[in-house]
Every structure is written in C-alpha cells, then in structure tokens.
C-alpha cells in the first residue's frame, strides 16, 4: 500500500481513543509522515470524504450516528474499530442494561421527546469491521501496530490469550494474593496488563478470550465473596452489549 489516506472518526465515545493517538508523542510525527491523515475529528479542522482507511472511535447510539457510520462504511475500504465502545459497545451499553427509554426519562424528564437515542450497538452491528483495537482506552501502541501492519500488508496480531500472561511477564504479584479480584484469567490481553500493573483487578475492557473458562472464573469470584449479581455486574461493565458469556452459562 502506498501512503494511504486515513480518516479518524469519533462517533459516541469519550474522545479518549483519539486522544491516545494524539498522545503518541514519540511517534506522532512518524505517523503523520507514514499516512495521509485527511480527517481527524478531534485534532484537525479539515475534513475529507476521500479516505481508504477509517479508524472509528465510539458506538452507535443515535439515528444520526447510524447515518454517519453507514456513510463511513460506504467510503472506507478498511474499517478499524478503535476502543471498547466501537469494538463491542463498551461502557455505553450500560444504558441498554438500564433500559434506553427509562434512561432517557431519568435524565431528560418530560423533555425526553427531544432526544435522539437508540439502543447502543458496536460499529460492526452496522458495517463490516476489518480490524479491532480493543480496550478502554486502547493501547496506543496497538493502534500503531495496526497502522504499521496495514502499511506492510500483514494481519495485525491481537492477542487471544488472557491478561495473566502479560501480568506475569511484567512480574506482578497476582492481585488475588492481595485480597482483590480480577477478570484477568478470562480477559483478552494486549493492554500490557496495565490494571494489574497498578495493583488493580482487570475489568475485561478488552472483552474475553475465545474460549474462556467461565465456570472456573465464577467459582473463583464466588470464593472471594462475590454474589452472582456482583459477578455479573463486574463482567457487564464493558461487555453488556455482546458479553453474553457469563449470562448464558
């Protein structure tokens, strides 16, 4: 691929994913040289409808979002979903869990008719996504890795092993030993185990691995005093849209 034209878009999210791109300080100039950034919601005023690669942050939460995402999907040849919100709905999905109608009434009261809101869905509910950069916020080096991989023409390698692997590579004490709980054993790595690195349990912001041992995880959490409801709630934090795994079993 030559110098690809790249658009970076924010749908409904917190802007943190785009900020992580801007936070690439050491590599930002290389990035700007390696690709042609023609659209970047958060950082540049110019915008263009001519791009090959779309990096998309945020989930789809309004009719207006639907229009936007469909347009991006019709233009971009390669779509990369960046961040939990885009990948699987992320934290936004807590609204679905609460009930979209109910949530609207709670926040906007009798003015709720004025508000455009629908059930939260990830990007791939509307358009085809080629690559996923998981995490809330995503690991900025992984964003670089995807861009690099697209440039040299390979499939980006996103780990399908649990966070424990990275956690051990980093030489951490397991937080279970310190009396905390962690979803690391069933959650997908790639974040460099940053929560356990900070002595904080993994919250599964990158979703679960392909074949998680959910039963073992449930037993483990129950052993640490969590009720089924607590376990569900922990798990749902970032995975309420797609994460049926624990619920189903």
């Amino acid at each position: 691929m030559g110098k690809p034209k790249v658009g970076i878009f924010g749908i409904t999210g917190c802007g943190g994913c785009q900020l992580e791109i801007l936070n690439l300080e050491d590599q930002l100039l290389d990035l700007i040289n390696a690709v042609d950034i023609v659209h970047f919601t958060e950082a540049i005023t110019e915008f263009s409808d001519d791009y090959e690669v779309a990096l998309i942050e945020g989930s789809i939460t309004t009719e207006h979002d639907v229009e936007r995402i469909e347009k991006i999907g019709s233009i971009a040849k390669i779509v990369v979903a960046v961040g939990s919100c885009a990948v699987n709905g992320g934290l936004n999905c807590l609204k679905n869990l609460y009930g979209t109608e109910k949530a609207n009434a709670l926040v906007y009261g009798d003015k709720k008719e004025w508000i455009d809101t629908i059930d939260v869905k990830p990007v791939d509910a509307y358009i085809q996504v080629d690559h996923y950069v998981r995490g809330c916020p995503p690991n900025r080096l992984e964003i670089v890795d995807v861009v690099r991989s697209l440039l040299v023409g390979r499939n980006p390698e996103i780990p399908n092993y649990p966070v424990c692997i990275e956690c051990k590579r980093n030489g951490n004490t397991c937080v279970y030993e310190l009396g905390k709980t962690c979803l690391g054993p069933i959650s997908r790595a790639g974040c460099n185990s940053r929560c356990p690195n900070s002595v904080s349990g993994c919250e599964a912001c990158r979703g679960v691995i392909d074949d998680p041992n959910v039963n073992a995880q449930k037993d483990l959490l129950a052993e640490h005093g969590l009720s089924v409801k607590d376990i569900m709630e922990q798990f749902n934090l970032y995975n309420a849209c797609k994460g049926k795994t624990i619920e189903q079993t």
Partner: protein
Amino acid sequence: MADKINIEVSPVSRVEGHGDLVLNIRDKKIEKLIFRIPESPRFFEAMLVGRNWDEPSHITSRICGICSVAHTYASIKATEAAMGIVPSDFIVKLRKLIFHHEIVQSNALHVYFLAAPDFLGVGSVVPLVKTHPEVVDIALRVKKMANDMVRMIGGRAVHPIRTVVGGFTKLPTVEEMLQMKEMLNGAYKDLEISRALLKTLKLPDFERETEYISLSDSEDYAHYDGNIKSTDGWEIGPQDYLNKIKEKVVKHSTGKHCWANRDAFMVGALSRFNNNYDQLSDNAKAYAEELGLKAPCYNTFMNNIAQFVEIVHSVDDSIKLIDELLEEGMDDSKKMVDFEPQAGRGVGAVEAPRGLLIHDYTYNAEGKVEKSNLIIPTNMNYGNIERDMQALVPDIIDQSEDEIRLSCEMMIRAYDPCISCSTHFLNIKLVNR
C-alpha cells in the same frame, strides 16, 4: 454587505461535527442565533444506578477522555463525602500533583494544537508540522511531560487506574518522583519559547463582562478543592450548588443549559484566573503580565492565554508538591486510608480543565448508587457562548461572510468546549434570503 445572512451548520446533512451554529442575519440584525449540541447523549446518570461504590469513578471517567482525571476526582470526592472518608494530606497532595498534569496536557493540546493553528493561519496541526515544526516539537514535549506524569502516578494517561476512593492502589517510587521533577525543570525552556511565540499572536479585541464562576480555596489556586465562587460576589460550599446553579433542557441541544446569578455564566481558565489570580505562582503572574493578561479580564479570546498561564503555574506548583511529598516520604503504607462503605449523599466539585465540574451521588446502605447528578463544564458555558456571539456579531457585521464565520468559530474554540465539539465548524452553509 452582509444584509441577509444565514449561517448554519446542519447536523444531519454532514457526517462530521458535534456542535452547530445557526446564525441568521437580516438587515444587519441578528434574527436567530443558536449554538446547538447534537452530541449523542450518553445517560451516565442512568448507568450509575445500582453500581457499587468503587465503580462510579471508573465509569464517569469515560464521560470525557480529555478530562478523565477531573471526572475521576469529582467522582471520588463525591463518594468520599457521602461516606465520610477523609483522605490524608499526603494523598491529597499526590492527587493534586497528577491533576495538574491533566490540566497541563489538556491546556497544551488546546493552546498548541487547536488554537495556535487558528492564530498562525493554518488549518490545523497537520499543516502546522510543515509550517511551524518548532511549535509542534514544543507541544509534543510539553504534552509528553504531562502525560508521562499522569502515567507514572495514575497508571495510564487516559482513564487513570491507581487513583481510587480512599487513596491510591499504588504509589510512584522515589526514583519516579525525582524523574518527574527533572522533567518539570526541563519544561521551562519550552515555556519561555512558547511565551515569545504567544506574544506575537494577535487576539481579537472583544470584551463582554459576564459572571465568572470557579472553585476558590484559601490554600491554593483551586483545581482540586474549594468553594464555588462567583465574580458577582457570592460563594457557597459545593454541597449547596443547587441553590445557585440551575439547569434546564433546551430543545436545540442535548447539553443542558445552566445559569446562576444572571442568564448565563462562564467557567474555565479565565474564570479561575479572574477569581484566584492572587494565588498564581509568581512566575505565572509574570508570564500573564508579559502576555497582557490582567485580572479581571473580560475578553473571552484571552481564555487561551489564561490556559497557558495555568500551565506555568502547574509546573511551578508541581515541583513544590514533589518536594513536599518526598519530604514526607513515599512510604507504601500511606497509599490508602481505612474506611467502611456506608449510605449517604455527597457532592464532589473540582475544576476540570474546561471549568467547574460537579458530581452528586446518593448511596444506599449496601454502598450502591441510588441517584446521581452530574454537571459538566461545557454545558455550563453553552448559554454564555450564545450571549458572547450576540455581542460579537454586531461588531463585525460589516465584514464578509467568511470573516464572520471564522470569528464565530474562533470564539467557540476559545471556550475549548469539550474537544470533540471544538473543531469542525467549517462546513457552514450560507444561504442568502
């Protein structure tokens, strides 16, 4: 020449843009002026219901990636207030230290990447790399310093991990503290150069006095703590915010509009500057003077300068905080205070980079959220943005459509409304009637 102008950004016809400006002018009079935010509403107040006391700070951090530390703190403070948890002096100092650097990184992003391109006459940071590489270099260095500090103390730059109710899950090491100090000392050179550059910029000459609201604290230039104070002469404790600050839903915007003493007020760097000028570091004061910023200042465009002055103050104060913390010793046992979760209501107010931020939670006996209310700075500014625009447009009504449009955009950008709305006002359609 501009007898009949409609300036409008339609949210539906364009893919981009979260914030829209509708401006109709007829016979040199404003017929209609609306600043609207069709940003997708996210319903955080609903998401919080039923959540365990240790989760709201992680959840609300996701309201905004650029000010995630501020949300984390407003949230933690609300929870701590509700449960009667009093963090130690050590913890508060470390919190202030990390908080400074969210302000630095956010202000730097705004001053260098978003406002500077406007004033230097280029579209954005991408062309800026070619035209003013030295500015981009400085911006990246300052941002990196601030982000690295947040990473070292908070565990990551966006949505910090280590700062939780009751303290920290992990403390930075002495070596890291010393490294931070070195980074801070290294920043002065870049700040000097930036000052020289900012001095050459021509900011529009525009004044409109309004109500300026911010936190204010007897101890320091308030970011983390303090009472809510107004230039209109009132001051209240954060828990009484509802007595003064009112919210309403308006039809053209998903962001609620706010008012207090008058029909609108301003929050953000300029408000903090106007309220707390005296508490700035000497160095920051000198920078302000050099750049022609004096308190009280009624020129909205000077908000960018105030942001820069705050960067200087934050660097100075951080060095002081690091020295004090090292003096006390980075002993691991200091990272947390003991507490028991309990029922109650608490309000947490902080100064986010963009201004006053309030979280208000009610917990039940199991330590789960029953009710919450969040008041977000950009929302507070909406009303004031419209008023400013109403004042600005008559002054420039004789200019070309393009010039009017640009001035309006720059005005909005001066507020640094939460970043995703701060760009993309360009595709404004002008329809002459």
